[in-house]
């Protein structure tokens, strides 16, 4: 694991970190922020369910930043720290609810590149999530996975990081003035 950014900052006077590295591609970074903000704050799937999937990716990908971040919206919807702690390999026998467990089974199959859900998993998914929610879950996992790996490859994992609650991503507002 590297905790030393592997490229220089794109912004003069600012230290190299994930934000200042992807600033080398401002339009691409903007496209990401728009997609990610819309996904989190204006999507069909509730934020707590998205956070369950994000945390499973964080633990399987072992991203030192993603593992320690919590989004405020998911907390407000009731995803407690004890629930987040249950998103480990023993989740099937945890107190997580049926919807959370089916999302975790889907995430494990997704992240393992194991192919489409089997009949049983698809039946459970259809019971818990609408087709639009399932699509958004898949898109979310694709972004969580891709950007966790980008952060790791750029050497932007923190040396040490406490659990940190961040505002839920939203569509960037234009800077006025």
């Amino acid at each position: 694991m590297s905790t030393t950014p592997r490229l220089p900052s794109a912004l003069p006077g600012r230290d190299a970190d994930f934000g200042t590295l992807i600033a080398h591609q401002p339009e691409l970074a903007g496209a990401f922020q728009l997609a990610y903000g819309t996904f989190w704050s204006h999507g069909v799937l509730d934020q707590a369910t998205k956070e369950v999937a994000r945390m499973r990716n964080a633990r399987i990908t072992d991203c030192g930043f993603c593992r320690n971040v919590r989004f405020a919206g998911a907390r407000a919807e009731g995803l407690s720290e004890s629930m987040v702690e249950a998103i480990d390999d023993g989740y099937e026998s945890s107190d997580l609810d049926a919807r959370q467990k089916v999302v975790l089974r889907y995430a494990d199959r997704f992240l393992g590149a194991d192919g489409p859900p089997d009949e049983s998993l698809q039946r459970d998914l259809d019971r818990e999530l609408s087709a639009a929610e399932q699509q958004e879950l898949g898109i979310g996992l694709a972004m969580f996975h891709g950007f966790a790996k980008l952060l790791i490859a750029l050497g932007c994992e923190p040396d040490q990081m406490d659990t940190t609650v961040l505002p839920t991503p939203d569509i960037p507002q234009p800077v006025s003035g």
Partner: protein
């Protein structure tokens, strides 16, 4: 913004990342990542074959080989990408291009796995 914008915006992000990759590197990434996923590579048969044996041949430039090495390692285990791997990329490409290449690799990996989830069970 409406809920239906999420797929549209992520498609735009993926297209944008692909468009920032130089030469044929975007295609090489798409091919190698698909091969590692066990998906059909979205390139012609000849290029598919060349990419399958990229480590043994002389079919790729040093810059392309640096890209393929990082793409392969990011799919297998991103923690295995080394300082030397990124330094090798940076010998050939400027920082904006390195960022675009790595973002494209991450997106192709993530959305490729989503594509696998959406295949009909007949592919199994």
């Amino acid at each position: 913004m409406t809920t239906s914008d999420v797929p549209t915006l992520t498609d735009a992000l993926r297209r944008r990342a692909a468009s920032e990759t130089p030469g044929r590197t975007g295609e090489l990434i798409a091919a190698r990542v698909a091969q590692l996923h066990g998906r059909p590579a979205p390139v012609d048969e000849d290029l598919d074959m060349l990419v399958r044996r990229w480590t043994g041949g002389q079919d790729f430039s040093e810059a392309e080989r640096a890209v393929l090495a990082v793409a392969e390692q990011m799919v297998v285990d991103a923690h295995g990408v080394t300082d030397a791997d990124i330094a090798r990329l940076a010998e050939h490409y400027d920082p904006p291009t390195v960022v675009a290449l790595l973002m494209h690799i991450g997106l192709v990996d993530g959305f490729g796995k989503f594509e696998l989830m959406q295949r009909s069970p007949d592919h199994e």
